[in-house]
């Protein structure tokens, strides 16, 4: 693995981690949601610091180079993350909808009751 790629991996990981910490500090983010990113960045840093791991696994899986392995693993992890995020968004949307509908119906019921009292 080239020094440049290792440097880029470490740099990006550290910047991402710093952004996470800042968001947590500004209380814009639930800690649960940062765990994935912290672990993800940790893996990237590990691979950059100890390229032997990449070389070893790449050899094991018969990849042409450790770089290929890293790219593939990163893409795969991101696709998975994206998929689960879609599932989460869908669930959230459903819950917001249910709440909005309940509020609207309750409000109408309250108005009707007030009207009939008059």
């Amino acid at each position: 693995m080239s020094i440049l790629l290792r440097a880029i991996l470490i740099l990006i990981s550290i910047i991402t981690l710093m952004m996470m910490v800042r968001k947590i500090r500004k209380s814009k983010l639930h800690i649960e949601y940062t765990i994935f990113w912290i672990l993800f960045m940790a893996i990237l840093i590990m691979l950059a610091l100890f390229p032997e791991i990449g070389v070893w696994v790449a050899g094991l899986l018969q990849f042409q180079s450790p770089e290929n392995l890293i790219f593939l693993v990163v893409i795969f992890i991101l696709i998975l993350k994206l998929f689960f995020q879609t599932v989460e968004i869908s669930a959230l949307e459903y819950r917001v909808e249910e709440l909005a509908q309940k509020i609207a119906l309750d409000e109408q019921e309250r108005e009707q009751k007030e009207k009939s009292k008059e």
Binding site: Y94, V96, E97, A100, Q101, I103, A104, L105, E107, Q108, Q112
Partner: protein
């Protein structure tokens, strides 16, 4: 038999008054509810000033969410039948009685179709309709002549199902799914009016998105859905 007319309305200040007044004056035997889908114009004010029965959604949920609110209303107040009537004045309430009579024969859903007996014209818009019809035919074996027409009446069983389940939008893919799962659906011939004011929601990109979503949903996704009732 108690019947509820559900009128989903999103920014319909130009039409809502005509639609509801027509209903109140000429068809006082039907209960109705306007579902204001978070409109940003005067739709809600007009309804409140006139004393219409209105449910105000605090946010815009889209047609499916607004219609579901109407079905929840019907479910909450125990209606036997519910019909969707568009707030743009395209649906003529004179067909409600005919549809309700058909429903009495034991159907789950009655579809108002512009092309039950009339021929479908060859316009770009109807090309989409034909494609959806074809997809439903491939998927269910049934011929639905006017799948995109919104004037649909539902019985009590359907009200409960629509009110309490996810992915039951008032769209052709839901109809296709229900037909496939054994719901009894019947169409009757209706005429539809031209929209009187305001602007239609449909434009080219939205139409393409809509078609893609419908065809994918009818031909593919609905095969994996389970109907738990």
């Amino acid at each position: 038999m108690r019947l509820l007319v559900i009128i989903p309305a999103y920014n319909e200040e130009m039409n809502i008054e005509n639609v509801v007044e027509n209903l109140r004056e000429n068809y006082p035997q039907y209960d109705y509810v306007v579902i204001n889908d978070g409109s940003t114009d005067r739709t809600s004010q007009i309804c409140h000033e006139k004393g219409y029965n209105i449910v105000d959604l605090p946010i815009n949920l889209g047609l499916a969410g607004a219609f579901k609110t109407g079905m929840k209303y019907a479910y909450r107040y125990d209606y036997d039948m519910a019909i969707q009537l568009d707030a743009d004045g395209q649906h003529n309430p004179k067909y409600i009685a005919i549809m309700a009579e058909e429903m009495g024969k034991g159907y789950d859903i009655i579809l108002g179709s512009r092309f039950k007996t009339e021929k479908k014209p060859f316009t770009p818009r109807m090309l989409g309709s034909r494609l959806i019809s074809l997809a439903i035919r491939v998927s269910t074996g049934r011929k639905i002549t006017d799948p995109t027409a919104g004037m649909r009446m539902y019985n009590k069983k359907m009200i409960q199902e629509f009110a309490t389940h996810i992915n039951y939008g008032p769209e052709p893919d839901t109809i296709s799914f229900l037909v496939k799962q054994g719901a009894s659906v019947h169409g009757i011939q209706v005429e539809m009016e031209e929209r009187k004011g305001g602007v239609s929601y449909l434009n080219l990109p939205r139409s393409v998105m809509y078609m893609t979503r419908m065809l994918l949903s009818i031909l593919f996704i609905q095969n994996f859905r389970k109907r738990d009732i």
